[in-house]
Symmetry: C2
Subunit: 199 residues, 2 copies
């Protein structure tokens, strides 16, 4: 653990508290007064750390999305078997978000609350998630190993599964993030039904 300089430490506390409050109550439903109280600060003092509430939200979201994207990039490189890539992608993606549901809730719910100039930057990065996944699916399709379902539908079906976890899943519960990621991969790849003899 490299210890942060004191100024940065405070900033990290602030970001963490903001993420927690925004995730639990929503961006608009959380006032800066509330955030300041959570930190034991006066509300005016917050403006030492950011220029506006909008910019604060943007900083949070951009950090998260960039981190996830960096992890995905390395998975997709190289000429490995596409089914292995797909499995890795889905396991990584599921675990990444299952471990920090606050981040997930923010990314799923609050991007819309950004002004266009901020939002456009993030949406561009989100499209790179999507492209990474559809590319793998298209590789599988070329090899005749994917069913006749559009790649975008399949990709969004998966993103839906994962992005919805913040509404019900709890990483400390009976199912660990690792187990969850295996279950999602099994469901997405082979379905929940046990193959029947006669079929």
């Amino acid at each position: 653990m490299p210890s942060l300089p004191k100024g940065r430490q405070r900033q990290k506390q602030l970001y963490d508290a903001a993420a927690r409050l925004f995730a639990a109550q929503g961006y608009h439903a959380t006032s800066l007064r509330e955030l300041a109280e959570a930190l034991g600060l006066n509300k005016s003092s917050l403006y030492h750390y950011f220029d506006s509430k909008q910019e604060l939200l943007y900083q949070l979201l951009d950090d998260y999305i960039s981190e996830a994207l960096a992890g995905i990039k390395s998975l997709c490189a190289g000429p490995r078997d596409p089914e292995e890539k797909l499995a890795d992608f889905m396991r990584y993606y599921t675990r990444f978000y299952a471990r920090d549901l606050d981040r997930l809730a923010l990314l799923v719910n609050e991007v819309d609350n950004l002004e266009p100039r901020y939002r456009k930057v993030l949406e561009k990065k989100e499209r790179r998630y999507l492209a990474a996944l559809t590319d793998i699916l298209d590789q599988l399709r070329e090899q005749g190993r994917l069913k006749e379902v559009p790649s975008t539908v399949a990709a969004f079906a998966f993103f839906g599964m994962v992005h919805y976890t913040f509404r019900w899943y709890r990483p400390k519960g009976k199912v660990s993030p690792e187990e969850l990621s295996e279950m999602f991969w099994e469901i997405f790849g082979r379905g929940v039904l046990r193959p029947q003899e006669g079929a």
Copy 2:
């Protein structure tokens, strides 16, 4: 089309406009002034139709959820084959929301913005969705036709797929709600991968 009495017509217009605005911008980001303008009304006039903004949101959500629940109930009754029930449930559920994404966006995003006394009522009804689906899954499990995945995980994986559609799916696009419902059923039941000879 039975024509509504004039008072009720106005009320329906108001509900529709509110649903559209809340879905597009979010509950907190939409002011009553904005809603009044969309209807060509003075903002004070709105209070003839509801007592508070909270109550307006609650009325909208309760209408939607009750309608969906009524449809599901009839599907689940009777001693039919559980796999057929499952397919019917998923087709019905997917089409219901794929046809009206504004409703879906509201139900997924805005329930949290209700005061506890309102929210609790809706969450109770939502749990009945979930119970209806897990019951069917458990019936399949008893017959050895479901894989070793917890019913709640499977159920939420499906809800995730469907509930996320409001972020990307457009019913007027290349894939109709009917086609989408078939695709989701195929993915959820049998997966996206084509079964291989050697496996």
